[in-house]
Subunit: 332 residues, 2 copies
Amino acid sequence: MPAISRPTSKDVAQEAGVSQSTVSLVLGGKWSGRVSPATARSVRDAAERLGYRPNQAARNLRLGTTRTVLLMVPTLSAPFFGPVYTGAARVAAQHGFGVVVSTWPDDAAGPADSPFGSDEAIDGILASSMPVDALGRFRETPAVMLDSGPDGGVPTVDFGVADGMRAIADHLAGLGHRRFGHVAAAVDQWTFHARAEALAAAVAALPGGVLTRGTCAIEVTSAKDAALRLLSGPQPPTALVCDDDLIAAGAYKAARALGLDVPSALSVTGFDDVLLATALEPELTTVRLPAEELGAQGMTALLDLLEGRRPAPRVLHGELVVRDSTARPRTG
Amino acid sequence: MPAISRPTSKDVAQEAGVSQSTVSLVLGGKWSGRVSPATARSVRDAAERLGYRPNQAARNLRLGTTRTVLLMVPTLSAPFFGPVYTGAARVAAQHGFGVVVSTWPDDAAGPADSPFGSDEAIDGILASSMPVDALGRFRETPAVMLDSGPDGGVPTVDFGVADGMRAIADHLAGLGHRRFGHVAAAVDQWTFHARAEALAAAVAALPGGVLTRGTCAIEVTSAKDAALRLLSGPQPPTALVCDDDLIAAGAYKAARALGLDVPSALSVTGFDDVLLATALEPELTTVRLPAEELGAQGMTALLDLLEGRRPAPRVLHGELVVRDSTARPRTG
DNA sequence: CTGAAAGCGCTTACAG
DNA sequence: CTGAAAGCGCTTACAG
């Protein structure tokens, strides 16, 4: 029950004294060389006077599209995905597209049972941070993968997480650290595999470098336990490299439980740079991942794809942000 | 360019050997007494065999609806609104509705310039946490207001923030606190006005109760400054009541800067119970607001409204969660 | 350079 | 109990 019936292209045609086809041509921007400039102008004026806006349902029906894309994320609870959505929605809106969000099927909190075969009619899919075993599922719908690693078949936008991890390792090594503990996310995603590899390689390249590794869920309690285990060995690490800012919060708790001051007795780093990073005390040294940019670039790539172009893979740079959670190790 | 052309109601009609009207009647659930059970069954079977799903664009065009509602929130960066969306989207999906999100116009990061008069064709609006001066704007579109206070004209769903604030005051008073500092959000929304009033009333009712008040943005640095000011007076408060968990994080920083241990030298409370509350050290005593439930109930109310019913105002209970940031004041 | 007509896939009076 | 027909508002060949 829409309150007031909006003007249609027929109304505009009548107001401008032309036919409906002419209105459609002019307003659709396909009039060059087909409609006289004077007529085009009068159509535009009429449309403006009437406050005309095309009925998307009719447009979609005629064109067979929905102008809706689906953004799939692992979870909406993680603070990381709000900005991804914002970036995607901004670019989409500029092109008259809407964005609908769905969480991965295994997430019971998700709005839809399954995005594959859901009720939603969709023009394309933006799939962010996919589980590794879910790759290559997109047969029928144009898709772009975000933060899911390079892929032969589907266009991708990724973060340069390896560079980010290397920047952290360099920063820590420069401060004098040699014994590193990696508090790694036990999540089967490309981004975490890439982080682990990059850190391992960086430490291996460091004379005297030693790396131990513990895994946990991306959750404070689990992270605290993992950090506790890492710190309880005979030659404990002097720096804890965490796969996520939230994991770093767990590392802080472990340090506090053991009476270790951060950063004087233990350096801690995060990854992502969400709000939490500056809410913690001390503020967290971490790698800033441009989440909103990921969404924006991903949507741009998807729109390209929908227009028949073949977007090249893109990699977004992550930036090391040095704050107060890292310092020289106690015993030089 | 949808990959494969889906079956239409005409295909189903042919498969079942009936007319398109009969298909529509049966699948729309309006056949009782109009179509024989046997025919209905064969239509359903045919639809299932073909994997038929109605074309929403055609449906919307015919019906004049969009089956889309707009959720307006102040910002997508705040961790509070992810769950609101999730709850709303879940209920919407159950009724075949989609949810599109927009931030308030003044937020430059928002996807649309202005939701009023945006390109989006919408059946209804869910407006969350509205600025006080933006009330009463909904003339043309059915709307439900969330977390924006009671309103004569528009159905509402709110939190019982006054009760929550009272629970905090009682908890603190029970521990022996008498000097309270309110680190209040300088945000012109009903919820914050209600919190301030409830706290003031509770402290006023407490023999020997004293309340001082400082305001800040919902942001760590600003909150820290406000807390610092409150704690620097001659008779500083022994408990800081914060309007938001993030503000509480700022209060922690102020305490640390002054060498005040939380909770032994200073009690701190938050509001909302977002992820941050348990990431902080010590974990934060706060009031849990059921954000996802707010979204779900709001959508239920809006759907009622769209069907011509008149949903009654609802108030959702906030629950005090006692953790480790509150204790007896040092000097009884 | 412009218009009349068809048709996208539905739902709903209307006729039988 | 069932079907033929109209029409929602667009866009796009097609004719002139």
